[in-house]
Subunit: 343 residues, 5 copies
């Protein structure tokens, strides 16, 4: 489930707002960084012990030379720069993906408004169209999200959830065999469109205008689903991710060596502090690794991070709400009364 | 209420334009930063006193070493960089949220144009649709804004404000019990759509075309409301906010120590000035903390900052204007006269 | 009037293109910066004179210490960074505001195409709708632009300009008294919509379709006007502007002191040049102050800068063109002839 | 004509891709920079000769002092920063302008689809509407592009090109006299709309729906044309361009002096190389001047640079294609046959 | 085929996520950089050998001077800055190009919904329209993508693939001869529009509304195709690409020389490490060259890189799916049954 904290920062007048956010664990930087940090510290201490206990003097001289070299050159790659640009790109994509998730509410309101009649056939039409719309979304979600895939590993589970009927499953599976490499999420939308056309022919929809409106909206829904697939297929180019990852990890390899305390290290300031604990180094680690982790946790917003969107919740919500709008609430509204300001 | 100052900077010819803005208190940097600054200074002075009065010489030597270490390393985290990128992201979201607030004026004009008739039923239809539109907005606002929540803590207050009738409240509460985890802001819109369909059936709306136009607009309104919820659920990822906050506060912890005056501090220039008052340090504090506060006050534009949008004003304005357009001004216009340039 | 120079830079092949732009006065950096520069220089020289003539030796020592301190630390605030981000934000808003200004041409063409008839009543309808559209724009402009406010301080002047009739003024003023805090720019648009509906009822408009098209466009026009108000209400947050302004002016206070020539100033290079004239300092002043002035002159594009948009010209142009399209040119077009390539 | 090189960089696997682009002349950095470079070098050499040959020793001392001063301070203006932000802004505008150029193809297809009949009058209607659309574009192009202005300096040339008839020219010229300060590009569009309305009345267009579609598209076309004018009127603010230009040229004035070889220049490293040839300086010149030239050649994309868009080609193409679609191809299509996969 | 790795990074909790990405070859930085790296190393070693083995002492002194000069000045061009801005621009264009690729699904659903009848003529109409839509796309793809050009070098291959009939090929070729300089991708769309009009006349389409919807969508499709051509014609300006390429390669020429080990090189730290292997230099090479390669592989997303989009797959998918929707699935849908939640 997404980590929401807006309510905690609705005003910035008191001192503790952003500070308070530092004391959270779910979705926090600590949770993301601590494993890396532990490994980093183990390596650092190991190296320090080797230098102080196991090396003879000539090896120490060579080691000191390497330390000096790493210390001097560690900052020659503009880490802040490349991270700044990369994270901005990843965040933009992350938010665009959110805005691409289609909600079936619009279609539900249109269906409820335009497909008239309280008989079983009309009800079945309304419900089936909405079921197809939700089904289309679920098929797309199983392709892009491991959490949804876990819930619906095959069509059988989708059927059990009431989103798919036996006969429909059979049709999809036939086509899956015939064209295994093409996604099939558009099929329920095509069926839904056919039902709409049939409803018009059976005069359950009163005008051509309504048909156009509904079919346009179905197409828009399918278009957004296609876009979600797009984002999944075409990630941020691997090269860019590799360049950034290499830069960050290299920086820290250099820093594990370069921040070692050695006798007479002219590169470091204040050997005495470093001799006991590399405060600064740990801070830098937190900062740069945390920045990289921002990218890492945003690059797939439909994954299983704390921060990721709860698609399973959404699937249930969409089906429930859709049925509610097109069936229970179909053309119902509270009695028309004079309001308080009626003069 | 938003802090508006555009009128004061409409020309840049005179010298004092942006300078004049420095002498404002409401929504100003001073108001946002002063508490932090006072705490910062107290800590700084405390430390200075401890060093000068309470420490013996050997402790002073250790302290000086730590000061030197902090002074040298304080600037190794690229604060300006990370703040620049972060604030840009927060500001973009802030403005996008503004542009997502829907105004009911368009719907009001459509309703007034298309739902004909001066009888009570037609009037009730027009007024009720507009009331539902405003109600939808109010429900969303109570979810995202603490100032609106304060005004309308429960449905009872909304009812008292004349936006909700007893019968409607009952229906919503039944559904709230049945599906507690799903927001209900779309319900009034579904009702509004049903009323529109009924108006068409009773021939108060003359053509199918108008029905489509109104329902499309109702859907757009609901879509924007949904988007506002989106922005509330999915904040800027917590990790990013934590990274930035940590960076800024760490910088100032380092600077409280590193900017201390000590005898023979080779890191600092001009010990003599620092000995009396750390001008520079305070300036840096103002600058970086102010930049962070920009983000802090923008991250929730519907909160209670000076800068935040006055949603309560908007709720009143929307209801008043809506009733005005669909009722008092319904298909009224001044007499058609020849204008001044009629030849 | 906007300062246009695109025609002068249509090719970059010759050497003098951007260079030539340096020799312009209207809307130039010189015009914007010179007052600040003069004040800056006066302060600089004053301080230099005080140091050289009025100070005794011990005061000079203290002064030199302060100079050294300022010289060393003046560049510790990342001015370029914060200006780069801030100006980008301001420029984006500036351009978005331009693109929000609605033009009535589209409505004029629709009105001319769809409201048929050459009788006085049809003419009055066409002209009145266009007058209302222009009126809506003028009301908004008086709220956001001091130049338009100067031309139309009250409704009386708008009436004299032929945009408003006596009877209409009376209605608006009644509502202004009833609801003083809500803008009224949408009222003429509501009237215009009513006239369109009446035209349909009197069969001057032949189909419902045209009604929808015109009303949609009227709504779009009102929407854009509302957006202009939005930009006016919700400026770039005051805090951000203050942070940037403080940073720039602080930098120059530091530089007035820090760039002073003193004996044995180890911070400055080449004392000898500075002793006579602080070239560099003036250049930096031009550069950073100029960059800030870019923001200052763009933050309100409807003000009275050289660079600001000529809204008064636009008001006249819109009324003239509107009347031309809906009246003189109403359903007129040159005779249909065979063109040159007719085979 | 635009400089296209995408085909040369369709894969990045081989080593030579971007490198190969370095060996091009048309639209290249060399072509844009060489004049400036030559002047720069001449000034540089002149100064070097004066220093080495014409100065006596005391003048040389003063000169060396100035050189030292310029060398030390040359880099104090953050050139890379301001160029990075400025070029990004200019490039965004440049691309947006491209996307604003309207193509008449959509209108042509609509006209061909909806205005029925093969008689001369129907043909004349179809051809005339398209001619007006192209005419509107040409009038706008003459206002924004010197290359088009050169081809069509007055309406006479437009008439000769077959885009304007004698009678139409007369009407426009009358209005040009009456309202000299308002652009007239919208007039042909108003005429086109009138023709469409007439076609509907003569039943050449069968439904009101088609009328709306065509008129909407005509309005969209005019809207884009208006946007092109907008971009032309409202350039990147002169102040910003001046700030950037000043920064770059100042930098090079400083560098002409500061990079001079002098005896005992402690600012420069490796005097010996500089003594013979200032490699580095030339590289920096190429880099920064090239970056500035990117902006210079993009600021007016309709000018006469190598990189600029070939509007004259487009004018011819549009007229030809329009006539082709609405006349020769009017409601023609190849015979309907069974395709290869017909089962 | 695009390199997809989103599934591998769906959670960032474990340590190895981005790290794991480093061990991939397809589309990786190693694959893109290794040739350049080998050449770089060969040159580096060659120079080192020449210095150590072939030079006499006086030549060595000169060489050392040059090394010192290059070492000192190598970093004076702000590489990170210009790369950051350039890559951001290229990536934005890259993604925008993806979003411009039109999919025919929407048109297929509209055609299937609106063109009624199961007779051969209706079937032929539906299939032919879709064929024309796919044909338009293929023609555009052959113009922008070398991989598609390889598959369809002439119209003959397109004909063999069943996308073009003999008669249609003849028509296009006639026009290609008449107007060789204008692209012809819009022709099939014009034909498709004509077929739609004919279908309306033969009453296979029941209402004018549907005609409008289809023709609008055909126009939108053609518009997107035109946009793809746009992106191909108007690349990122050559000057910008040259500036960046020059900057990167110059940097490495400088670094080949400047990172050489020489006796008593005061510019380098820790000669001893460099004497054996220039670790740092190789890292910098990887980093900056990799960043440049990001741009290089994205500048033409329809080329033949590992990362590039598989247009040939898409062509097949589109034709298959289109026929499926408009023919096999034409107005078919699974039987309407009561769903699981039917109460």
């Amino acid at each position: 489930m997404t980590v929401t904290y807006t309510a905690q920062v609705n005003t910035s007048r008191r001192i503790s707002n952003f500070l308070r956010l530092l004391f959270r664990w779910r979705g926090s930087i600590y949770k993301l960084v601590w494993v890396d940090l532990v490994i980093y510290l183990i390596l650092y201490i190991l190296l320090a012990l080797i230098y102080r206990l196991l090396m003879n003097e000539s090896t120490q001289r060579i080691f000191e030379m390497i330390v000096y070299y790493c210390c001097k050159h560690g900052s020659m790659i503009p880490l802040a720069f490349v991270l700044g640009f990369y994270v901005t790109i990843v965040m933009n994509r992350w938010w665009e993906q959110y805005t691409c998730i289609p909600w079936p509410d619009t279609i539900a309101i249109l269906i409820s408004s335009y497909i008239m009649g309280f008989d079983d056939r009309a009800r079945a039409m309304r419900r089936t169209v909405m079921r197809y719309v939700c089904l289309c979304q679920v098929i797309v979600f199983t392709m892009i999200s491991p959490q949804v895939k876990k819930r619906f590993p095959t069509y059988t589970q989708i059927m059990e959830a009431g989103l798919l009927l036996e006969s429909e499953k059979a049709i999809i599976e036939v086509l899956d065999t015939a064209f295994p490499h093409y996604p099939k999420h558009w099929m329920p939308i095509v069926w839904a469109a056919s039902i709409v056309i049939r409803a018009r022919r059976e005069n359950k929809i009163r005008d051509d205008f309504a048909v156009k409106t509904i079919i346009d909206e179905l197409n828009r829904f399918r278009g957004f689903c296609g876009f979600l697939l797009y984002y999944d297929w075409v990630s941020v180019p691997l090269v860019y991710t590799q360049v950034v990852t290499l830069a960050v990890y290299t920086f820290f390899v250099f820093s594990i060596i370069g921040q070692q305390w050695t006798i007479n290290n002219e590169c470091q300031v204040s050997n005495h502090v470093n001799q006991y604990f590399p405060f600064l180094t740990i801070l830098q680690f937190f900062f740069f690794m945390g920045w990289l982790k921002v990218a890492e946790s945003l690059i797939n917003p439909f994954g299983e991070d704390d921060d990721d969107f709860e698609l399973n919740w959404m699937i249930d919500r969409n089906l429930t709400t859709s049925y509610l709008i097109v069936d229970e609430m179909h053309q119902e509204h509270p009695e028309l009364l004079k309001d308080q300001y009626w003069d």
